[in-house]
Amino acid sequence: MRAISFFRQFVEVVLAIAIAPLFAGWIAQCRAWLQNRSAPPLLLPYRMLRKLFFKDVALATDASALFRATPYVLFGTMVLAAAIIPSLVTDLPMARVADSIALVGLFATARVFLSLAAMDIGTAFGTLGARREMMVGFLAEPALLMVLFNAFLLYGSTSLPSLVDGYRTHPSIIDPSVIFAAVAFAMVALAENARIPIDNPSTHLELTMIHEAMLLEYSARHLALVEWASSLKLFNYACIGFALFLPWGIATQGSDGAGALLIAIAALIGKLVIAGAALALIESLSAKLRIFRAPEYLAMAFLLAVLGLLVHLLLGA
Amino acid sequence: MHTSQLIAEVLRVLAAGLLLISFAMLSGRRTQQLITLFAWQGVLLFVSTCLVAYSSGLTEMYYSAALTLLLKVIALPWILNRLIKRLGAQWDSEQLVNVPTTMLAGLVLVIFAFGLAQPIASMATTITRHTLGIALAVILLAFLMMITRRKAVNQVIGFLAMENGLFLAATSATYGMPMVIELGIALDLLVGVFILGIFFFQIREQFDSLDLHNLESLKED
């Protein structure tokens, strides 16, 4: 393993941490445009974070250590996730440490911690949010796994970088199963990142919210970390999507050197811009589901993914 | 060999008589009458045993004949008569199944018994071999009688009749069992009847009747 790959790893992680809030900001902006509101400034997320970091923490009287540790854990897991996903390059040292199943595991860890923290204070909304979050999770997670499985069956590996490599080395014709997988992935991504139609990131109408309900008790730096982590999560999902379905531009094993990296960065930003717009579009076009409908939506995603697998085995193999 | 032929004829007649008596017992109504019939069975047995003894020239058969006379003709009927007099049970006796049905069943049994005994009897060398089927029939009929009676006393009589059948079988098939066994059997029989006597009184004092439907409380419910 060469120093260069560690360097690239570092670049990738730092870049992820840096531009994740920007991505969130961009989506907000697109949504504003689409709903012809006057858009908030693009850098608003950064200002928010700064402001939050310098406020005093108002902590509930009987908040336990778990509650205070959770934001850091969330942030940590998301950063690690970012380190595993080949957003720029594929020869990632971390990718050997944890493959994509571990990646799903990391997301699960984050979710569990967040839910536990939400239950810690023992408020009505916290627990409610936690329950709903776990409900979304236990259906979304398998769906995501199934989507990944689909790719695994195509390229015979569970580590995302080698998936990308495999795809780049012999760009097979689009496998029919990929379509199912793509749709399922999109649905899961929406659900996992607390987006419409499952959840509305920009609402505080208590009875409909999921993600926000869990953050109610967080303030200041804790809140900042949580928000940052969630934007990182969104970013990570986007990158997973790219790696699985449009891996063009990612610097593969052979091609090292500054050029490839720059191209990769450019490609990533381009994809992010498009993805953000698309996401905003979807969100603006669709309406939020009743919370009871959520399981059906997710079950649909899950079934699509499984269907993709079966299709692959029927037609592909 | 003329005499032996004659004896065989007589024996057959006697056996037939036994069977007849069993049927009579099967249909018999009164306890008193049953006891009399039982005694007559004993008499017939005694006679036939004597004849067998004579024809086969086995002295021990005389003993067992004497035993029969003592036990089945004299002792047991006497005991039973005293019993039922003391218990005042000599009149009442009725059956669970009506007589014709019982008779019919008895008939079937007789046929069955003959069919069963035929091959064995053909192997026997004894002069009385053909009566083996009758002996079996008597046993089965006595069994049937025990089933169809409701009075304790009558069941006992049926039981004793069964013993008669066994005795007949023993004599007819194999000129009787060895003496020791005969004695043992007789002893058991006597003791059994004594115990029965004791029982009757206990049952009487507990249930003030010998009717068996008092003795139907122990059951699965």
Partner: protein, 681 residues
């Protein structure tokens, strides 16, 4: 140090011509001795609990150490024949790699549980201490003997002794009728299962008096008989393992037992059933047909889902854990089934992978399930409450138990970098790298299986969040909880041991994988390659899939630390304590929190068809509104009650045979006589 110990042992063995097995038998004997030693001072809890149980724990460590040495040294199997048992059938005892692995599991798990138990048992609770100690140590010893037995008779004797001792442990609070009922259900299921196993051995036996496992290995069977033996064994061992639909006793018995016993049953005893299944199907019957694998796979996955779904709707913390045990057993069986499937299609490497996953999961389950049951024990002692509806907020009263329980929760939820994740990762791998199986529909089956597996795992995360959140987090739901006290030091020690195990196996799974490798090598002739580096595992090939719990753990910790430091340096650490905000609602009462029932609601909503539910809803005008819901297992009504009713009906029906009328009785014998006469005519 281990090496020196190894030398010392080997030196001793050479001088005395004894081997690990002898030491193990000594330990088994010592357990029994300990059990009876309790009667020296039958009522002194200090003597029995504080002295004998720790001794038992040390013996557990000893047996684990010996098993570890044996597995590490890779010796040939060792035999002993005891002059006991039936004539012509003395007790055969054999230590091979398979038993070695399960003894390791037994020792590691037992050490923690015994230590905890030493602190757990109080005087004046249920059975007298001495009796409890006897039953407990007999239970341990019989489990060890089950694993070591090498002939059918000894196996059955140990097996039933195990069931019996555990039954008495379960019913140690026998004054409570529910507990008696649970114990009865447990024992009858165990006994029927045992008879099935016995019959399976009856099929397997090699001829007259040929009940040794060697004879069975060498015997040859027609396919039909092989399958019969397999099915009987599946019935028997499945009933013990709690495989659906033979699971009904498990959620009754586990909660009824004192917590260390529940831990022992769930963590260790169920594994003896796994052991038996492996012994019979892989070793004695050297697997024959892929259909067996399919059967196990389907049953296992169904049990996994079933267990997870039912666990999610439980309102009793120990029942919840019991159902989660069903789920985990299901996963293990699925792994075994997969392994059989691969082995019968000559893919030894993948078979080994699946089996490795199953064995590793057994080991992990022994660790975290025991840990969690023990924590429920501490909670029970501290609060006298078992119902989730009356708990909450204990993390502030019992920090030790809470933090250790958190580790257990995370690992049973299958989250990296803890041990639960590793085994589930391996299992997914073995599902994933299924090359083309010979049968078309099997190929269809595999992805579905993977889906079910993923669903079950995700559900278990849901369940565990409910478990931990409702018990330890939030506001105490009962005022009495304020007086809850933390576990005493012995209990803590036991919990720490197990929790440390969870973390260690999570970080360095290859420690256990090294122990598993010889097992798969023996049973399947192939082993998964644990990769060159000691910190990461790559079962098939580095580029296909690799995982390193250690680095992941280090990574998370370091990132967290860096973040923390950065935040503190760049910003500040000021904190102001206030009331909870909760959208500004003025009154916060603990009744406002989500309850266990509430947490189960989505599952009930989704999987309503699995349950029989009876709700009583409060009306709007209730002064003290209470929402109650009774969940029941459909299988209970659809399978077990009918059987019971059938027996009842039959026994009612035959009552007339004993009608009390002498004439009828005479008629019976008369007819019997006639019938037999006709028969011989």
């Amino acid at each position: 140090m281990l090496l020196s110990a190894n030398h010392w042992i080997s030196g001793l063995s050479e001088t005395l011509a004894i081997n690990d097995l002898h030491f193990m038998l000594v330990i088994v004997g010592a357990w029994t001795m300990l059990g009876f030693a309790g009667f020296l001072r039958p009522h002194s809890i200090r003597f029995v609990a504080r002295l004998l149980f720790p001794a038992g724990a040390i013996l557990c460590l000893g047996i684990a150490f010996l098993a570890g040495l044996f597995l590490a040294s890779g010796q040939a199997p060792q035999f002993v024949v005891l002059p006991l048992g039936l004539p012509d059938l003395p007790f055969h005892i054999r230590l091979d790699v398979l038993s070695g692995f399960f003894l390791l599991l037994l020792g590691v798990g037992g050490a923690g549980i015994s230590t905890f138990a030493a602190g757990y048992f109080r005087s004046g609770e249920g059975t007298a201490p001495a009796l409890l100690g006897l039953e407990y140590h007999l239970f341990l010893a019989s489990m060890a003997v089950v694993i070591l037995a090498d002939d059918a008779y000894l196996f059955m004797v140990a097996w039933e002794t195990m069931a019996l001792s555990s039954y008495f442990l379960v019913t140690s609070h026998h004054r409570i009728p529910e507990i008696r009922r649970a114990g009865f259900l447990y024992l009858i299921m165990a006994h029927v299962g045992a008879v099935c196993i016995l019959l399976s051995f009856g099929v397997l036996q090699g001829g007259s008096w040929q009940f040794t496992f060697d004879a069975m290995r060498s015997a040859h069977f027609a396919p039909f008989w092989a399958t019969t033996a397999f099915l009987l064994a599946l019935l028997g061992f499945g009933a013990k393992a709690g495989l659906v639909p033979m699971h009904v006793w498990l959620p009754e018995a586990h909660p009824a037992a004192p917590s260390p016993v529940s831990a022992m049953m769930s963590g260790l005893m169920l594994k003896t059933a796994i052991y038996g299944m492996l012994r019979v199907s892989f070793d004695l019957l050297s697997i024959r047909f892929w259909q067996w694998g399919v059967l196990l796979l389907v049953l296992g996955l169904f049990s996994a889902l079933f267990g997870a779904i039912f666990a999610a709707v439980q309102t009793d913390m120990k029942r919840l854990l019991a159902y989660s045990s069903i789920e985990n057993i299901g996963l293990i069986f699925a792994g075994i089934g997969l392994s059989i499937l691969f082995e019968t299609s000559n893919m030894h490497l993948f078979a080994a992978l699946a089996l490795t996953a199953a064995l590793l999961h057994s080991f992990n389950h022994a660790l975290f399930k025991s840990l969690l049951f023990l924590t429920t024990g501490s909670v029970l002692h501290a609060t006298k409450q078992r119902s989730l509806g009356k708990l909450g907020g204990l993390i502030r009263r019992m920090p030790w138990v809470a933090s250790l329980a958190l580790i257990g929760t995370l690992s049973i939820a299958g989250l990296p970098p803890l041990n639960g994740f590793v085994s589930e990762w391996l299992l997914l791998q073995s599902f994933l790298f299924t090359p083309q199986l010979p049968h078309a529909f099997l190929n269809m089956l595999i992805p579905l299986g993977a889906a079910a597996l993923a669903l079950a795992v995700a559900l278990s995360a849901y369940v565990m969040v409910k478990f931990y959140g409702v018990i330890f987090l939030g506001q105490p739901r009962e005022p009495s909880l304020v007086s809850a006290r933390d576990a005493n030091w012995l209990e803590r020690l036991g919990l720490i041991w197990l929790a440390a195990g969870c973390i260690l196996v999570g970080a360095l799974p290859q420690l256990v994988l090294r122990a598993i490798a010889p097992v798969t090598a023996k049973l399947l002739g192939d082993t998964v390659k644990s990769s060159s580096t000691f910190w990461s595992i790559a079962p098939i090939a580095q580029e296909q899939a690799s995982y390193s719990g250690l680095i992941l753990l280090a990574g998370i910790l370091s990132v967290v630390a860096v973040t923390f430091v950065c935040v503190r340096l760049l910003a500040h650490g000021r904190i102001r304590r206030t009331d909870a905000w909760d959208c500004g609602y003025p009154w916060q009462t603990s009744r406002m929190q989500d309850t266990a029932e509430g947490f189960g609601q989505p599952i009930r909503h989704l999987f309503g068809t699995f349950f029989r539910m009876e709700r009583d809803m409060p009306s709007a005008s209730d002064t003290a509104p209470r929402y109650r819901i009774y969940i029941e297992d459909r299988l209970w009504r659809s399978v077990y009650l009918p059987i019971a009713r059938g027996v009842q009906k039959l026994s009612d029906a035959i009552g007339f045979l004993q009608g009390g009328r002498l004439s009828i009785y005479l008629l019976y014998s008369f007819l019997t006589l006639l019938a037999l006469l006709v028969f011989v005519l």
